[in-house]
Each structure stands twice: as structure tokens, then as C-alpha cells.
């Protein structure tokens, strides 16, 4: 186990290194200058500012300097506003991760319940309801949903804050908006898997032992139905990152999404690098966790790297 984790970890580092290198050269090759107000700057001043950020040096020197800083945990300072990239990321991070994690967990829990109920009560109204929810969940774009939630529940009904950040109530609507596609995906997967698992021979074995339906569902069916659902969690977590971009903007959540897109379009090199590394680490770790979960849920998969 420890060896496996170590091996995975070193692979993660290599992957990350490739990503950093690729992104670094890509972003530096984009047309345009990273200076914000260059319009009113004299060429001397522009050169001065570029020199301050070390941007006047040859690209490969910049690259090695950046790597050097990175090894020491220094992500540099944002060119757009001179703040430390780490500080800005940590700021956006807590909000994004909070609504992201809450949305993901909410989505998984509701998705599981819906999926299981639909599979157990096949071809009843519960099933239709769950199928309907999941179809709507994948069919309605998250931004339409988010705007609608903010307007109707936040403004018209006034049940919850329409947007902004501050108290726990503020996190509810964004999390719900984020959870919707998760509910849809998870409930679909779990239902399909559950239906299949319920028809498995070992379910019959369990039933033949005289165990109650609830115990069969929880102890035997759920765990097995979860295995494939776990596989989609990696992509889902990545999807939440994309989704959060729009949701954060609509609900005025001070998260990562806006920082990220802004930094790319404004060519804030250090910020782009910082957020790319951040997101990549997030995705890679999500995939890693999914693999670990896989092993925990399914004993047949030995975590020795011999999985295929």
C-alpha cells in the first residue's frame, strides 16, 4: 500500500512538472503584454515594470527562476495587482472549495438516495421522479439554473441570500446550483448499477438468508453499486471546478473561478501558473482519491498497481 502510494505520488509529481512546463511556455507565447495600464505608460516605464517582474529576461531563464521559486513554495506575485499569488489563491480557495465540496457532497448524497430509491421502486412514481430529475439535471445548463435560483429563491421569495458571501446561508444556493449536475449523474449511475446489482446472484443469496430488505440494500447492494459511481466522481469533481466559474460569478462568491479566467485573458503569467498548478493538483488528487476509494470499496482491486 505504502509503496503504491509512493509510486503514484512520484507519478503525480512528474505529471505536474509536465503541466507546469507546458503551461509556462504556452502562456508566455500568447500575444499581448501583461501590463494592465500600459496605454498610458511610456516605453521606459513599461521596461521598468517588466524588469520588476523579471519579464525582461530570456524565457528559459524566467522558466528556471520560476521553477526555483516553486521548489521553495513561492508562486511569485501577481502582475495585475502585486499581491502574492499564494495569498490570492488561498483566499479564493476557501470559498471555492467550500461550495465545491458542499455541492459535491450534497449532490452525491441526494444522488445516491434518488438512485437507490429509483432502483428499489422500479417503474413507480419515485423512479419516474428520479429519472426526471436526473434528465433535467443533465439537460438544464448550470448557469440557467444558477440565475433562476438566485432570482426566484433569493430575490422574489427572499428565503435565502440571493448572493454574496459571509454567513453559512450564503453558501446554500451556490452549493445547490453546483450539486444539480452531480445529483443527475450520480443518481443515473447508481440507479443503473443498483438495478444490475439487485439482479446479481449474490443478492439472491443474501435474500435467501432471510435478511431484511433494508439490510440487503445497505450492506450488500449499495457498496457494490457504488463502485462504478466512484469512477465518475473524478470527472465530476473536475466538472464542479468548471461549473463553479459561472456559479461563483452569478452568486458573487469570491472564489477561484473568476481569478482564473481573468488571469488568462489578462496574461497575468504568475497568476495563470499559480491557478493552473492549483487546479491540476486538485484534479490529480481527486483522481488519486478516487483510485484509493475504489480499492477501499472493492477488495478485488488490490492496490498494487496491477489494476486493469
Amino acid at each position: 500500500m505504502a509503496r503504491y502510494i509512493l509510486k503514484r505520488f512520484s507519478l503525480m509529481i512528474v505529471t505536474l512538472f509536465i503541466i507546469i512546463t507546458a503551461t509556462f511556455f504556452l502562456i508566455h507565447s500568447l500575444p499581448g503584454s501583461p501590463l494592465q495600464n500600459a496605454e498610458k505608460l511610456t516605453p521606459e516605464l513599461q521596461a521598468q515594470i517588466l524588469a520588476q517582474y523579471g519579464l525582461d529576461q530570456p524565457i528559459h531563464i524566467q522558466y528556471f527562476k520560476y521553477l526555483g521559486g516553486l521548489v521553495q513554495g513561492d508562486l511569485g506575485t501577481s502582475i495585475a495587482n502585486g499581491q502574492s499569488v499564494t495569498g490570492l489563491l488561498m483566499n479564493g480557495f476557501s470559498a471555492s472549495v467550500f461550495i465545491g465540496a458542499q455541492g459535491l457532497i450534497l449532490g452525491i448524497v441526494i444522488g445516491l438516495i434518488l438512485g437507490v430509491l429509483a432502483a428499489l421502486k422500479r417503474n413507480t412514481w419515485i423512479d419516474s421522479f428520479a429519472t426526471g430529475t436526473s434528465i433535467i439535471g443533465v439537460s438544464v445548463p448550470s448557469f440557467v439554473l444558477a440565475a433562476t435560483l438566485s432570482y426566484f429563491i433569493g430575490v422574489e421569495l427572499g428565503w435565502l441570500p440571493a448572493n454574496l458571501w459571509g454567513t453559512y446561508e450564503h453558501t446554500i444556493l451556490p452549493s445547490i446550483a453546483l450539486s444539480f449536475p452531480v445529483v443527475a449523474q450520480i443518481s443515473r449511475y447508481v440507479r443503473t448499477e443498483m438495478v444490475e446489482v439487485l439482479e446479481q446472484d449474490y443478492m439472491r443469496t443474501a435474500k435467501a438468508k432471510g435478511i431484511s430488505r433494508l439490510a440487503i440494500t445497505v450492506k450488500h447492494a449499495l457498496r457494490n453499486a457504488l463502485i462504478p459511481a466512484v469512477t465518475v466522481m473524478g470527472p465530476l469533481a473536475a466538472g464542479i471546478i468548471t461549473g463553479s466559474l459561472v456559479v461563483e460569478s452569478i452568486f458573487a462568491v469570491p472564489g477561484m473561478g473568476k481569478i482564473f479566467v481573468d488571469s488568462i485573458t489578462s496574461k497575468d503569467y504568475t497568476m495563470v501558473m499559480g491557478s493552473t498548478i492549483f487546479y491540476s493538483v486538485l484534479i490529480i488528487s481527486a483522481l488519486f482519491i478516487v483510485d484509493l476509494l475504489y480499492g477501499i470499496i472493492d477488495p478485488r482491486i488490490r492496490i498494487s498497481g496491477a489494476k486493469e
Partner: protein, 309 residues
């Protein structure tokens, strides 16, 4: 023998074995595709999906012929009309342009982008997945590491950079979507091929000296068609979705052109004032997604009975 019925003796005449008829009585052997079609036909949801797709497809083509307006002419005097006046079936937008025209024009553009993106997905995904799965070993190892890297870069950064390089248009957006969209396709193809590779008929073909290309084209590809078709029907709505997302954050199609995502983005800005501008394109987009998902579900159930509900 309580109920003694009367039988005539001729009923007890032997007729012998009807073996041939017995064979006939056997259920007809149905081909995989025909069988899938039969199953698909039974799926009400899938049929509704097909019908919806047909309706939207026809409207995207012929809808613009149904009134006397066009998608780009502005008339600020009648902007943001929600009522159906003067043939503006869906009202007008913030420039007084006809929404009916714009919605169907936008649907057409969205579909074009989605089809193009998915086509590229399939080409890239099948090629890479096929090579990876078929040759295995080092090549597979290398490609899989490569995919892992691609998968771990936030796809937005690739897409945004690409769109800063290329003139944003149908092709650029389709490429941007396909650039990261081929990964799941290649995984499916690879997994299928890995499974099939070890099977006997491929082995047989190999022993008979068939070339790699021939084996791939004649034996393997036809067998992975099912999963590819299923993946395609699910890729199309996600491509539509992604285009809408890009347009929503201002990176997709540029106004005054229209796509469903762009129309929704425009509508969202005036949601609280003129909800109809958001409502119509959002509705068409949702129905389109719904239809593709229904058809996808139906196809999956039909082509992959293991997944049957």
C-alpha cells in the same frame, strides 16, 4: 380420471416426430443491429427523443423561413417585445431583432459546432485509443501517461489559450471542445480493443497473416462501433453544453452571430427585466439536451444489453 371426456380414435393416430417443424418453431435468430433496433423501438423515451430531435432539426433548418424577419437586422424601436406581434413568434431581443430567427439560427450554429466537435472527438479518440489498445506495451504506456497529463490540466486553460490564438468561430470552438473531449472516447475505444484483442478470431486472423491495419479495420473497429455510437450520442449534448458555457463566459461565438449559449448569456443579463429573452433559447437548449440524452439512453439500452435497465 375423473373428467372422462370423449375423444375420437383418430385423435390417437400417431403422426411421428415433427423435428423440422421443431426447428422452425425456434425463435428466429436476429442480427445484433436488428435486435438493437427492436429494443430501441420499444423504448418510449428514446422515441420521444428522436421525435424531439427531428422537430428541432427541422425547425433549425426551416424555422427561419416561417416569418419575414432575419436574425441580424436591428430595430431598436421594438426592442425587448415579449408578445407575438408582426410575426415575431418569440418576441424580440435587446436590439429589436427577431428572437424566433435568432433562436433557430443559434440552434443551427450550436448543432454545427457540436457535430464538428464530436466528429473531431471520434477521429482523434478512435485513432489514439485504437493505437493505444491495439499495440499495447510501450506505446500504450506512453499514450496513457500523455492522456493522464492532458486530463489533469484544467481544460479551460487550453481552451482559453486556443481561443486567444485562433479567430473565434465555429471551427475554433469545435477544435477547442474536441481538444479535451477526445479523452473519454479514446478510453472507451482502448478498453474495447483490449478486450477484443485477446479474442480468438483476432488471433485467428493474425495467424493467417493479416496485417495490423486489416485486423483493425475489418475486425476490431466494427466491434467497437456500439460503444462509440453510444459515446457519440452522449458527447453531442456535452459539446452543446460546453459551447454554451464558453459563450456564456464570453469566449465562444461572438455577437451579432448567435448560438444557443450566446442567446442564453444575453438573456441572462436581462432576466429580471425581460425573462422571455432567456426563456426561449434556454428552453430549446434544454429540450435539445434532453432529446440527445433520451436517445443516448435508448441506444445504450439497445446496443449494450448489459446496461439494460
Amino acid at each position: 380420471m375423473s373428467t372422462e371426456k370423449t375423444y375420437t380414435p383418430e385423435l390417437f393416430e400417431p403422426i411421428g416426430q415433427l423435428e423440422k417443424r421443431a426447428e422452425q418453431l425456434n425463435r428466429k435468430q436476429v442480427g445484433v443491429w436488428k435486435d438493437a433496433w427492436l429494443r430501441f423501438r420499444q423504448n418510449k423515451g428514446a422515441l420521444i427523443g428522436v421525435a424531439l430531435l427531428l422537430v428541432i432539426g427541422l425547425l433549425a433548418i426551416f424555422g427561419p423561413l416561417m416569418n419575414d424577419h432575419n436574425w441580424e437586422t436591428q430595430n431598436l424601436a421594438i426592442k425587448n417585445q415579449s408578445a407575438n406581434i408582426d410575426g415575431h413568434y418569440m418576441g424580440t431581443d435587446h436590439f429589436g431583432r427577431d428572437l424566433w430567427q435568432r433562436v433557430w439560427y443559434g440552434a443551427k450554429i450550436s448543432l454545427e459546432i457540436a457535430f464538428l466537435a464530436v466528429f473531431l472527438d471520434v477521429v482523434i479518440g478512435v485513432t489514439i485509443g485504437g493505437i493505444s489498445g491495439y499495440f499495447g506495451g510501450r506505446i500504450d504506456m506512453f499514450i496513457q501517461r500523455f492522456i493522464e497529463v492532458i486530463y489533469s490540466i484544467p481544460n479551460l486553460i487550453i481552451i482559453i489559450m486556443l481561443l486567444m490564438w485562433m479567430e473565434p468561430g465555429i471551427l475554433a470552438i469545435a477544435i477547442a471542445i474536441a481538444l479535451t473531449g477526445w479523452v473519454p472516447m479514446s478510453r472507451i475505444v482502448r478498453a474495447q480493443i483490449l478486450k477484443l484483442r485477446s479474442q480468438e478470431y483476432v488471433l485467428a486472423a493474425r495467424t493467417l497473416g493479416a496485417s495490423h491495419k486489416r485486423i483493425l479495420l475489418k475486425h476490431l473497429i466494427p466491434n467497437v462501433m456500439g460503444p462509440i455510437i453510444i459515446a457519440v450520442t452522449f458527447s453531442i449534448p456535452s459539446a452543446i453544453f460546453f459551447e454554451a458555457f464558453l459563450s456564456f463566459i464570453g469566449l465562444g461565438i461572438r455577437p451579432p452571430e448567435a448560438s444557443l449559449g450566446l442567446l442564453i448569456s444575453e438573456g441572462n443579463q436581462i432576466l429580471q427585466l425581460f425573462p422571455h429573452v432567456l426563456l426561449w433559447p434556454a428552453l430549446v437548449l434544454s429540450v435539445l439536451m434532453l432529446a440527445f440524452n433520451l436517445v443516448g439512453d435508448g441506444l445504450r439500452d439497445a446496443l449494450d444489453p448489459r446496461m439494460k435497465k
